[in-house]
Amino acid sequence: MKLGKTFKHALNMVLHSRLRSWLTILGIVIGVASVIAIVSLGQSLQSSITSSLSGLGGDIVTVSPGAARGGDFGPGRVDREISTTKATSKAVILDTTDYQVLKGIPEILYVQPQIRGNVNVSYLGKAGSVSVTGVDQKVWALVTTSTMAQGRFLDSADQNVVVIGGRLASSYFSQPVGINKMLTVEGGAFRVVGILNDQSTSIYMPIQMAFTVIPNKVNNQYDSIVLKIKDQDFLDDDLAIITQKLTVSRHVTNRTMDFSVTSQKEQQATRAAALSTMTTFLVAIAAVSLLVGAVGIANTMFTSVLEKTKEIGIMKAIGARNQDILLIFIFNSAIIGLIGGLIGVILGGIMSYFLPSLLSSGIPFVRGNLLTVVSLNSVFMALGVSVGVGIIAGIVPAYQASKLKPVDALRFE
């Protein structure tokens, strides 16, 4: 029999046992959808981390108050930890002394103290709360890895001006915010001079303004100090030097260390590793459900072969060869796999679209502006896998069907 006809008969078989086919398909749908959702969620988390700490930045080091902890997850967590530290212990701070110490280290090119907090902003009547970072406008542009989409970075003469994140400009308010528009930040008017080329809702302003704008900040006390070192090839050495100098100036020992020195590279690697461990784990769980789906297909196919024994006998009596029967059943299970895969991909796509917003409150390193994209690669892979799973699950029952002796099959009731 020609392949086209074989396929037609296989499809006919799927359509004629609709309920059972659908139940089997459902098993695959669940497996594929969860794999797709988790993989694309993992991918977008990964890429959001790598883009926020872009490949540049190998020469960027951050000094923060509070002891270093393993497994820090992104800025959100860092903020929260700092504030907890502040609230519970005797004011662990970074101040101008630290600033001067860092300035005095020859391996450091730039020193950029900054503070951060949440503020109320409004634009044309629409208000919200976003994160604002006060930066030393003289060096910020030299230290940051962000790039400008429109306008310029902050200038040393700037006062009531801000640079804003891409999403804050494009879609946060009821209307897009353009260059030279006025934003209201904590009651004060600020002119937008630059829009960053990213998906954030952050605001950057001169640090002196930020001290007045962000609630509960003390002048000359910093939330972190960002450094750019001269040669990133000596990163490890430089980290040691910085740590050593601060340890001395802050009168602490290795055990009582009340600050941390981290490089962006390190953070990136730690986060990426933690993330990929978690993603792998979740994908493994999802893969198990796909496996269960495969067992479902095999089960359905065995039942179907049993149920169709007589038909197989008839087909053979009228000239069907073993390979015709084999292919009809393999196609049958491949079709089930394919349909399951297609629906699974669509469902997985929908899930991965909504998943970030569902999880963002629960997982600290997912911020609201995560953009999940189901890559074409994972779509093809999922379809390939589900068809493959269908075929593999169908092979044994199909082979069994094809080997039936015509007389025996015909006698079967």
């Binding site: 029999m1 008839i314 087909m315 009596a317 009228i318 000239g319 073993n322 007389v407 015909l410």
Partner: protein, 248 residues
């Protein structure tokens, strides 16, 4: 009739054929050394008591099963040593089956059922569709193309199965009690149809029947008993058969 007297080609030959079924420890001999020659264009009736081995013999002839011992030639090919795949091809091309229980594929319409052997033999689409349509008309079911088997009466289903048996234009039609599930009137219609195929198209027909009246249609009668051939005899002359019918 003329065809049978002219053509002496032996289409099917059984030489000392045995079929022994193994039921656990017990051996059940269903055929015990059957030898028989069937010529092209014959109309053969196989009769005998239940369990005498009729179906077993016909299944062997149709290559649905292989003999335990002995040799079977179909169109001068020794089928006892053929592969599954070759058997299927040979079967599909040369043999058409008509079963007591019709054995149509329940999920296919009458038309699709007739199309199936043509698809298996890889006829081209246009020809296959034309042929299936012609055959449905031939068996008088031109208006039932789209009906599923469950939407047809027994007699209609049997006619579809005859059309299906004819689809790939085989030389041999094997019919295992084709009227067994039908009332006598419908049964006779089916036999008439087979008879016409034999007479007009020169098909070789081998039919199992319990009904001695129906056996009269055949040209030769083979009687089986306990897995052995008891008698092979020419049946009554066609003229007499008509007389017989009149008196029926």
């Amino acid at each position: 009739m003329a065809s049978t007297t002219k053509e002496e080609e032996v289409l099917i030959e059984l030489q000392d054929v045995w079929k022994i079924y193994q039921l656990g420890e017990v051996e059940v001999p269903a055929l015990r050394g059957v030898s028989l020659q069937i010529k092209k264009g014959e109309f053969l009736a196989v009769v005998g008591a239940s369990g005498s081995g009729k179906s077993t013999m016909v299944n062997l002839i149709g290559c649905l099963d292989t003999p335990t011992k002995g040799t079977l030639y179909l169109k001068s090919q020794d089928v006892t040593h053929m592969s599954e795949s070759d058997l299927s091809s040979l079967r599909g091309k040369t043999v058409g089956f008509v079963f007591q229980q019709y054995n149509l594929i329940p999920t296919l319409t009458a038309y699709q059922n007739i199309l199936l052997p043509l698809e298996l033999q890889e006829f081209d689409d246009e020809e296959a569709h034309k042929r299936a349509e012609e055959l449905l008309k031939l068996v008088g079911l031109g208006d039932k193309m789209g009906n599923l088997p469950t939407q047809l009466s027994g007699g209609q289903q049997q006619r579809v199965s005859i059309a299906r048996a004819l689809a790939a234009n085989p030389e041999i039609i094997l019919a295992d009690e084709p009227t067994g599930a039908l009332d006598s009137v419908t049964g006779k219609e089916v036999i008439d149809m087979l008879h016409r195929l034999w007479k007009n198209e020169g098909k070789t027909i081998i039919m199992i029947t319990h009904d001695h009246h129906l056996a009269q249609y055949a040209h030769t009668r083979v009687e089986l008993k306990d897995g052995q051939i008891m008698t092979v005899q020419k049946t009554v002359h066609e003229k007499e058969m008509k007389l017989y019918h009149r008196g029926d």
